[in-house]
Symmetry: C2
Subunit: 418 residues, 2 copies
């Protein structure tokens, strides 16, 4: 694709989204770009060229994050960073991550063409990894910038075929000291535009959202151990039925979450019984529990209450209960003044919007603990994500770019303080 | 093994149980004798010789049921049939089925040695199949005798490697018209001694039971179809969560069965969700339901009530509900007068016993609908069955044989009417 010189924003977005989706395209129209895979590397190297064509000074860091820089004329060391991630889940969609990268490229390059160099330095970024879909680790890109990860952290995690993160990184040409180290201390703020991956905006007929918080997430595996026995010859009052105990716990926790009506969500997505045979009482059952909210206290209270109720059920049903927590991500507040500024701009330019909580994780939660950060959503059709059916209407994508241009203009050209 | 000429009943049982378990013995001390397998065929042919050695006139029928006959002197055509099945589940125990066969052989041959030929004909039987563990069909042996199955029914069912029941039967030398056809019209009554496969006798410190009913069994697959969605971005009141709906149904049905306190048992042994991932709401869930009781009306009422409640839950949670019944076995009453006679004998000889319902299926349920039938239990240690750990104490096995001798004596030598 040759980048057309006189085009509309909608055309630019369409061109770049389709072009980027060609790297790692799957048979059914999805995209698979796992970290440091061939498709990932081709996409990231092609984006480097694309950024240069569009007027950016492009460079990689040593984990493979790609930056496109427009040098500021006054506050060179106050870098306004904007972008998202390049990696995808297996057979994911064209928009998750990709839209955040291309919207930043389009917005910044258009500002440059219209207004010349910014006062504060503008950088767009294609972060190397967010999804955690190849290695059991996520936010490798943003985490490396924010100092959460070091290069040596790449030694441990391995993919399904036993290749370590470090090996894969080396094979893709990174992690060898050729490029500058990832940690940054010059980031003034981070701005990310992402598809909502939920149905709130579409249902409410809105085009855009300023995100106030990214939820905290806690994940648990609950294991119940009773006694496997004959379904015909074991009287009801002699059973230690793990599936029955699990069913009461699941009904209890999901029912409680429904009653909260404060945005807390709880999900039991995984369940497994053993021996899992129709005519045998299952002695073992385990299920997952995923709980999310943007207030740590509320998560604490909910989990404490629920696990006490689980204990009561386990005792009543005479099953052993073990609760193993394997994820604990704290809620992260986006910068309130930056969020406020963004909403004022939406108001001013007549964009239909709302302030909302993100129930999904994003690079912005890593940056949010590191520098002033704003996360913005455009609608997802039917809330579908991580699927080839992922779709956002062109006019909504356009709104996302236009809002980003207005925010970047205010921050980079008008040197807004917040 | 040479059958010892002067031995105790306990020694006879021990000898025959251990000897029979050597056919199809597994590495961990269990037994695998699937219908028409090499191990099954060797066992059945060896039993034919053993019966002959013990004084029976041995013969097969055309499906491979093996009979050992002691011709009656007066009522030749009133055959008192006693035995159980020779086949096992995969890695099953030494007693399930086998004890019913060897106890009948020992009891009848001892009576013959002590009292000479019976007045009514005595036959012991090693039925070819009960478990349904190789082919999707059970009671092939008793069903063929009772006219429930015909030879042509063997064309359809196939085992896991695609071999049809008919092919397997031919390979083992049966189903070719070499032996007499299985249906019988000369069976006066059928008597089966079996291990309890439950813990009732052991817990109550009893040695023996007369079974009044074999429960009816209904099995269902319940399928729920909601909507798979993101665990973080889907508000609680927008979910159509199949696992949550299933958990409420399971809690409801098992809780209801517990409240019945009338012997009804309900079991959800199998559960499966899709996509079954911790951070995705499961759109699909299916689970099994096994319900048993010895009164058809009560089964009807319970299932009707439960499925109406399932319908309410499905409506509330906006999931599609489908209920597929794949097993419907009616309860079978054992012959009440024969059962009464057996209990009188237990009383008379000071055997500690109870009258109980069988929660598991047995060949006696096929014979029960065909001729006067009595089923008797000896205790199962810890209720364990279908496992190499299956065990019954030698003194309990002895009681089982002694009771059978007393019953057979009364019926075959004293020509008791009932």
């Amino acid at each position: 694709m040759v980048f057309r010189t006189s085009t509309t924003i909608k055309e630019d977005i369409q061109d770049l989204i389709v072009w980027l989706a060609s790297f790692g395209q799957t048979d059914n129209g999805g995209v698979t770009r796992l970290l440091y895979s061939e498709a990932w590397e081709k996409a990231q190297r092609a984006l480097e060229k694309k950024m240069a064509e569009m007027g950016f000074a492009a460079r990689f860091d040593d984990v493979g994050n790609l930056f496109g820089r427009l040098e500021g004329t006054e506050q060179r060391d106050q870098v306004i960073l904007s972008g998202s991630h390049i990696d995808t889940v297996i057979d994911g969609g064209k928009y998750d991550g990709a839209f955040g990268v291309v919207s930043a490229m389009i917005a910044a390059s258009r500002l440059f063409r219209q207004y010349g160099p910014p006062k504060r330095t503008l950088e767009v970024v294609s972060l190397c990894e967010e999804e955690g879909s190849r290695f059991p680790l996520s936010f490798w890109g943003s985490g490396s910038i924010a100092g959460k990860y070091r290069l040596s952290d790449a030694e441990g995690p391995a993919d399904a075929s036993g290749i370590s993160l470090a090996e894969a990184m080396h094979q893709a040409g990174f992690g060898k000291g050729i490029y500058p180290p990832p940690p940054r201390n010059d980031v003034f703020c981070f701005l990310e535009t992402h598809i909502e991956q939920g149905q709130t905006l579409e249902r409410e007929g809105l085009s855009w959202a300023a995100v106030s918080y990214i939820v905290g997430q806690r994940r648990f595996t609950i294991r119940l151990s009773g006694e496997s026995n004959h379904a015909g010859t074991t009287p009801m009052d002699r059973r230690r039925d793990a599936v029955y105990a699990a069913s009461q716990m699941i009904a209890q926790v999901i029912g409680s979450a429904k009653q909260q009506r404060n945005g807390l969500v709880a999900t039991v997505g995984h369940i497994e019984a053993d021996p899992n045979v129709a005519n045998v009482i299952s002695g073992q059952c385990r299920f997952s529990l995923d709980v999310r909210h943007h207030e740590e206290d509320l998560l604490d209270q909910f989990c404490q209450k629920i696990f006490s109720e689980f204990g009561d059920i386990a005792e009543k049903e005479q099953v052993a209960l073990s609760i193993d927590q394997w994820m604990d991500v704290s809620p992260v507040q986006m910068n309130p003044r930056l969020t406020e500024l963004n909403m004022q701009l939406a108001e001013k330019f007549g964009i239909s919007y709302k302030k909302m909580v993100s129930g999904a994780g994003h690079d912005s939660q890593i940056f949010g603990a590191f520098c002033p950060t704003a996360l913005m959503f455009v609608p997802s059709h039917q809330g579908i994500s991580h699927s080839p059916s992922e779709y956002t209407k062109p006019e909504d994508l356009e709104t996302g770019v236009q809002m980003l241009m207005k925010i970047l203009y205010r921050l980079a050209y008008e040197e807004e303080q917040f």
